[in-house]
């Protein structure tokens, strides 16, 4: 298929339509505005639903309603807007409703700034809301990967009856890159939604109820254990990552995702030219964290250098996996500063000097 | 005086709230304080069934759908 040049936000919007998204509910916020803007025109044109909600809180609750009726639903926002959605996301997870949430991340905390950031890693991987729940969280690197993940996410959400969050930094949202929107992707087979409250109680012969309330703690615990089993299944089956330059016996291996991984690729190239081989683990799914990636590293590896556009959030996941295996190091920029690959090159050299001593 | 109808009381659903008692225009309802139902409440009883005019007031006001009202028909 021909590639078309599209802005990240618009490409995600179009990918959602191609992924079968029935309805979108959202509220404007920079740097994701082109998502609702694009959909305000194209959803209607495709006989789907677009509603600009009065707030992020309303938007996520509209998502709850539409998802409960069995629709494939999308919302998108950026960091503070995602914070406002936390109660709603917890409800979605609690009621086991499929939904897709896009977070085009900007610098925080608070109002912060609007430049590209990865400062919401905790918010998206730990669930900012109440209770024991987990999301499937993706953090793609290029527009092509983003588009494929957005398309596939609807079937994933349906399969697990769980919200899927796709976190890109503002850079991915704002940049243009050629993408093929019709690349074949392997959809997750979604079971029929016989649980949905579609208004067909009579026809169905039983009422469907969408509920996250369980007043009896033993019943609620059972529900939690059921959810946990699902999360464990995700952990088993959905870890997704890329290993880069591992066949050159690197001693240092980056761990980086999203735009940071692209920048790290440049650093790897630059270092290669200087005869230094560095590898990279690139989580594509950041939750469940791709622990499996760490099991197959070459013997040569001594150090994992976590790279973030935040101040050590993913580092914690690396620490959890690591359990003392490798030396851990960290490089991060914050607040919307996009690092240059040269800074990473520098960091690597500093580490190597330290190791040589 | 012949009753125009009668009420059927699903005793175990009654919460003994007394709302119906106050609404009966012919004052034939009261709570039966001699017993408690499954829920532990003193349930509704009819004191003088013959006087029932089948107005449905008691049933209308009952929050817990305890009461069914039947009208007698002469055919």
């Amino acid at each position: 298929m021909a590639k078309v040049l599209m802005k990240g936000n618009e490409a995600m919007a179009l990918a959602a339509i191609k992924g079968g998204c029935d309805a979108f509910f959202g509220y404007p916020i920079t740097p994701q505005n082109e998502v609702p803007e694009y959909l305000s025109y194209h959803m209607e044109k495709n006989d789907r639903i677009f509603v600009q909600a009065e707030s992020e809180v309303a938007a996520i609750n509209m998502v709850y309603g539409a998802a409960g009726s069995g629709a494939r639903v999308l919302t998108s926002s950026s960091s503070p807007g995602i914070a406002l959605k936390q109660e709603g996301i917890s409800y979605l997870a609690g009621s086991e409703l499929p939904a897709v949430i896009i977070n085009v991340m900007r610098g925080g905390p608070g109002l912060g700034g609007i430049q590209p950031s990865q400062g919401d890693y905790n918010q998206i991987t730990r669930g900012g809301g109440n209770g024991d729940y987990q999301l499937l969280a993706y953090a793609p690197e290029t527009l092509q990967e983003t588009v494929n993940i957005v398309k596939r996410s609807f079937s994933l959400a349906d399969y697990y009856r769980n919200p899927v969050i796709i976190a890109v930094d503002g850079l991915i949202g704002q940049m243009m890159e050629p993408v093929d929107l019709d690349q074949k992707i392997e959809e997750k087979k979604s079971p029929a939604k016989d649980w949905a409250a579609t208004g067909e109680a009579a026809k169905r012969g039983k009422r469907n109820k969408i509920v996250s309330l369980h007043l009896d703690p033993y019943q609620l615990e059972k529900h939690n254990l059921k959810l946990k089993a699902k999360y464990d299944e995700m952990k088993e089956n959905e870890q997704q990552y890329e290993l880069i330059n591992m066949d050159h016996d690197p001693s240092i291996v980056f761990v980086a995702y999203g735009s940071m991984a692209r920048i790290a690729r440049s650093a790897i190239e630059a270092l290669k030219k200087e005869g230094i081989e560095v590898g990279m683990i690139r989580p594509i799914c950041v939750h469940p964290f791709p622990e499996k990636a760490f099991e197959t590293l070459p013997k040569s590896v001594t150090t994992l250098l976590t790279l973030e556009m935040s101040l050590g959030q993913m580092l914690q996941d690396v620490q959890i996996v690591n359990q003392g295996r490798y030396t851990l190091d960290f490089f991060g920029r914050a607040g919307g500063v996009v690092p240059e690959s040269e800074e990473i090159v520098e960091k690597v050299k500093t580490i190597m000097k330290g190791a040589a001593k | 005086m012949a009753a125009k109808g009668r009420i059927l009381i699903e005793e175990d659903k009654c919460k003994g709230c007394n709302l119906c008692v106050y609404q009966c225009p012919v004052n034939i309802l009261k709570l039966d304080t001699t017993k408690t139902n499954k829920k532990g409440y003193t349930p509704l009883m009819v004191t003088d069934p013959d006087k029932c005019i089948a107005c449905t007031f008691c049933a209308m006001i009952c929050p817990d759908s305890v009461i069914t009202v039947e009208r007698y028909i002469n055919d």
């Binding site: 609750n61 539409a66 208004g199 469907n208 109820k209 | 049933a59 028909i73």
Partner: protein, 252 residues
């Protein structure tokens, strides 16, 4: 003698015992909504939205598909449902804390967008579920667990009237305030609900019926006196009647 059943439990409600306290008028309002939907055959295709309040379990009572919404957000949830299921009857059942306090933006904006849904609004001037705290609808000098000396105008303000407020929103089609303190008013209330659901069926837009309701337990007044208290205190501040009828402009 032969008999004809002239009043019986509605098939619009399930057989589960209601969880409301004895004499709480939530139950009467449930019955009316169930009756209206059953009589119009809406119950077979309706999708209801339970809110957070004493009626949180109403998803167990209404005999149709139900969703349970986060506190205050029922109108947003209903919006999501109605948009993807426009041919189905969609209603919310909300208390005054839910609708007039935390959920104020959601109810106003659902009305604003003219969402074609029906809102059943139960105003008992208090937070029942959580143990009797002050609501935006609590009367001046009314004692609650967070206004132990009675609500004061200074600091807490005078109670909000939701029908009056929503009447200023162009998108609202039908708004009426009713009471269920005696059979006559119950009948009127049912008529109001019928009108509200008919507005929806005819795709005429947003309708809301506000019910003056009681909370014997948290008011600390027995059920019958509670009805009287509502008549003496609530209805004067919250006058009954139609606050907006946008169907009248309608020639169809």
């Amino acid at each position: 003698m032969k008999t004809k059943t002239i009043y019986k439990p509605t098939s619009g409600l399930t057989e589960r015992d209601l969880t409301y306290c004895p004499g709480c008028t939530h139950g009467i309002i449930h019955k009316l909504a169930g009756e209206v939907m059953a009589e119009r055959n809406l119950i077979e295709e309706a999708i209801g939205v339970a809110s957070v309040g004493c009626s949180v379990m109403s998803y167990e009572f209404f005999n149709c598909d139900m969703q349970q919404a986060a506190h205050g957000r029922a109108p947003a949830v209903a919006t999501g449902i109605k948009r993807v299921k426009p041919e189905h009857t969609v209603f919310t059942y909300q208390g005054d804390g839910d609708l007039a306090s935390i959920g104020l933006a959601e109810i106003v904006h659902a009305a604003h967008r003219g969402e074609n849904i029906t809102v059943i609004f139960v105003n008992n001037a208090i937070y029942g579920m959580t143990g009797g705290q002050m609501a935006p609808t609590t009367l001046i000098d009314q004692k609650t667990s967070t206004s132990p000396l009675g609500r004061k105008k200074e600091g807490a303000g005078e109670p909000l009237r939701m029908c009056e407020l929503l009447a200023t929103v162009p998108g609202a089609t039908y708004l009426e305030r009713v009471s269920v303190h005696d059979p006559k008013h119950i009948r009127k209330a049912k008529k109001a609900l019928e009108k509200a659901f008919d507005v929806q069926t005819k795709k005429q837009g947003f309708s809301m019926i506000e019910f003056i309701s009681t909370c014997p337990v948290n008011w600390g007044i027995n059920p019958n006196d509670s009805l009287q208290w509502a008549v003496d205190n609530l209805i004067p501040y919250y006058p009954l009647g139609v606050y907006k009828d946008g169907t009248k402009d309608d020639q169809s």
